[in-house]
Amino acid sequence: MTADRIRRSLGARLAAPAALVGAVALTGLVVFGTGTAQAETTTTAGSTSAYEGPVTTSTNLAGGTTRTTPTTSATSLTTPTAYGAGTNAVAQPAVATALPSAEAAARYEAPSNQDGLYYRDLPDAYIAPGQALYASNCASCHGTQANGKEGVAPNLLGLGAGTVDFWVSTGRMPLANTSAQATRKPPRFNRTQTLQIAAYVQSLTPGQGTKVPVVNTASADLEAGGELFTLNCAACHTISGAGDMLAQGAYAPSLHLATSTQIVEAIRSGPGNMPHFGPGNIPDTEARDIAAYVVKVLQHPQDSGGYGLGGIGPVGEGFVGLLIGVGALMAICFWIGDRS
């Protein structure tokens, strides 16, 4: 009888506040939890990405060797893991977060890749299929000569393969809508197709613009990368790389999905509102360090202390502190206190 009454009164009186606090708390966790870089720390030693890793493949390409067998080339160039469904977990290649040992560093010290970053020429065989892809996917806005249309789409001549690769591989092109800024989305083309389009646009103005970089982050200096990131990038992309809104509808996007190649391409080409940093401003080694810091530290933080609350700082923390902290304690007051 008494136990029953206690249970009933507890249920009836606590249901409303408990449901309210619970619902608000869940909403908060969902709202501030999306896009968090709360991935598990990967401890795999060395890069497993075919695109970033093997120096032997890269050396051939760096020499400008024209591949006569595009299929072989495509296999060695494709990173199936890196361009997946576009989710955080799938899109990132497994990378090491620990500092590479001296042994590992020596392994990557190939003569052609002293800086961990070089720019390659795309094979001529890519140009023809690239032209076809360009004609069916890009020409309607950028024009058949890739010289753009006034008020519709910019001139692509002279931008280089790296710029095209950035825009297409991040899914920003083809454009989803005409908002103030193109948004990142799952790319329409696979790695080979993307590079084919890039090769075609590059072939219109040979030697000009940004080339496609090959980034080897294995021997990167993460400490230097961190300092350079804070100095050059954090003012817009925020210190955690979460991104934030800028003036007039433009925004600095989150870096939590970016690959090291895309980061270097963005540094060198300056897409949208982002400033363009030349090699005199940020040398290749430093660009590689920044890319390594983003990919290895920001995307896979050596993190402690529980749920990251979206990495947006005191806004999320205040939300949780007030609604979950004070809210839960108020619910407890309501529970143990008299309510008449």
Binding site: L222, T238, M245, G311, G313, G318, G325, V326, I336, S340
Partner: protein
């Protein structure tokens, strides 16, 4: 044994009389009366965790090379303050839990003060004779905000360093004395001569906590002396206190509540990350991160700064930066003055000079309730304005649109809130006394003659307030102890 030792102490110190009074102290029971206890217990937690942190934290701006376990920082030149904060998080056992619990406790401390204060305000508990306690409470709120800011600054990371930079500019914006004050505090022009971290440390761990402890003692002492207020109800008058005694009822409840507050704080400390300073890096005056906000209790100051148009006044060889001075000095000054002076403003308005031990229902004082709602709305809107960038990013709106939205909403929303609250209160008051009481069902019955009649159903259990018999408090020390009919029974004290 216990009896013997207590008697031994009593023979020397005479604690029995005071102890009896304390144990018999009557606390009116209502859930909203416990909100202040959240603040009390989070303050205790702040002291406890803070002592732990101070054992490891090094308050020094001296630069060293970091060689801890956090890999991305290794080899960087950082201040000892920052290095020790990071090593507290990674190398000291339970260090991160303590750090995070300390930070969450600070957020909860100030949040519960705000909620407690709202309860006191809306129920009129600040009226004569309790104006002093209101002043003491507001002082603790201000000290809490100041100390929160100082503590937030101590790790010397990029985000908090930005806050110190803003603080320096705010001090500088004060006419005439500003630059002298800033130079005095920082030991020179910004960033100063490396004295700011040790100075903040001393203020944070020594001066302000000592002040808060003193004020807290005064707050509780006044509460004991003036006795707690109570809501009007059966058997409750201006001259008595109806509630449960300190021992055994209230002490069990409040001790349990201490444990629950501790649990909530440490659960947050363990599961929700707060202020991950290792991600931010050492503060350098030439570096900045976007999306930097202060902790929530400073948010309303930051928000006012953000939405202020960039006005300044130049004349007689001096510049008065109104865009900083007005929102960051005048605005909070005005708010705190209104808070402090409210009991006296209200007395001047109502000409009410009576003692008040019974609380108001908010609806019965529509103008006060509306004024409080307007103030809360104003502060809430300025608070939201401090996250313009995050809101713009979340809703995918241009930053300027959000800024201009707040420039209109901040001055307009209090007016709307005042009007709406006033109307609601008046409406509720006119609705009558039985509003909110459980309705009695009407039962339609058919008599033997075929006549239909309606009659109210029998009262259900719990309908109507059942008052327990009061137990008179003994006026002398009786060795047998008071007759406790039922533990937790209601007793009546004659004031």
């Amino acid at each position: 044994m216990i009896d013997k030792s207590l008697r031994w102490i009593d023979d020397r110190l005479g604690i029995a009389k005071g102890g009896r009074t304390f144990l018999d102290k009557i606390f009116p029971d209502h859930w909203s009366f416990m909100l202040g206890e959240i603040a009390l217990y989070s303050f205790i937690l702040l002291l406890a965790t803070g002592v732990f942190l101070s054992l490891y934290y090094v308050p020094s701006a001296h630069e060293i090379v970091y060689h801890g376990t956090y890999v991305p920082l290794q080899g960087q030149r950082v201040s000892e303050a920052y290095a020790s904060s990071v090593s507290l998080s990674f190398d000291v056992r339970t260090g991160l839990l303590m750090r995070q619990a300390h930070h969450w406790a600070a957020d909860i401390f100030l949040g519960s003060i705000a909620v407690h204060m709202a309860r006191v305000f809306f129920t009129g508990a600040f009226r004569k004779p309790r104006e002093f306690n209101w002043l003491v409470g507001v002082s603790m709120l201000i000290l809490g905000i100041v100390n929160g800011f100082l503590g937030y600054s101590l790790p010397d990371d990029l985000v908090s360093g930005t806050g110190i930079r803003i603080a320096f500019s705010i001090i500088e914006s004060i006419p005439v004395v500003g630059s002298y004050l800033g130079f005095f505090l920082f030991g020179g022009n910004y960033p100063g001569s490396g004295v700011i971290i040790p100075r903040f440390f001393t203020i944070h761990v020594l001066i302000v906590p000592a002040l808060i402890v003193g004020l807290l003692a005064a707050h509780l002492g006044l509460l004991v002396k003036q006795k707690h207020t109570q809501f009007p109800g059966k058997g409750r008058t201006e001259k008595n206190v109806v509630g449960t005694p300190m021992f055994p009822t209230f002490i069990a409840k409040t001790t349990g509540f201490l444990f629950m507050s501790t649990a909530v704080t440490f659960l947050l400390g363990g599961f929700a990350q707060i202020n991950p300073v290792w991600q931010f890096g050492q503060y350098q005056p030439y570096q900045i991160s976007y999306a930097v906000q202060p902790d929530w209790y400073m948010g309303w100051l930051d928000g006012a700064l953000r939405i202020m148009p960039s006005w300044e006044w130049v004349g007689w060889g001096h510049t008065l930066p109104l865009m900083v001075f007005l929102p960051a000095v005048v605005f909070p000054g005005l708010i705190f003055t209104i808070l402090m002076a409210w009991p006296f403003i209200e007395t001047a308005w109502t000409k009410d000079r009576e003692y008040h031990n019974l609380l108001d229902r908010p609806r019965d004082r529509p103008k006060r309730t509306a004024a409080g709602a307007a103030m809360l709305t104003l502060l809430l809107m300025v608070f939201f304005a401090s996250s313009t960038d995050v809101l713009a990013n979340f809703f995918q709106l241009p930053l300027e649109a959000v800024l201009w939205f707040f420039r209109f909403v901040v001055p307009l929303s209090p007016i709307v809130a005042y009007y709406l609250t006033y109307k609601i209160c008046v409406e509720m008051r006119e609705a009558g006394e039985d509003v909110g009481e459980r309705k009695r069902a009407l039962v339609v019955k058919r008599t033997a003659e075929g006549e239909y009649i309606t009659e109210p159903s029998l009262p259900r259990p719990g309908d109507g307030h059942v008052e327990l018999d009061a137990i008179p408090l003994p006026t002398f020390i009786d060795t047998a102890g008071p007759e406790l009919a039922t533990p937790g029974g209601v007793r009546r004290v004659i004031r």
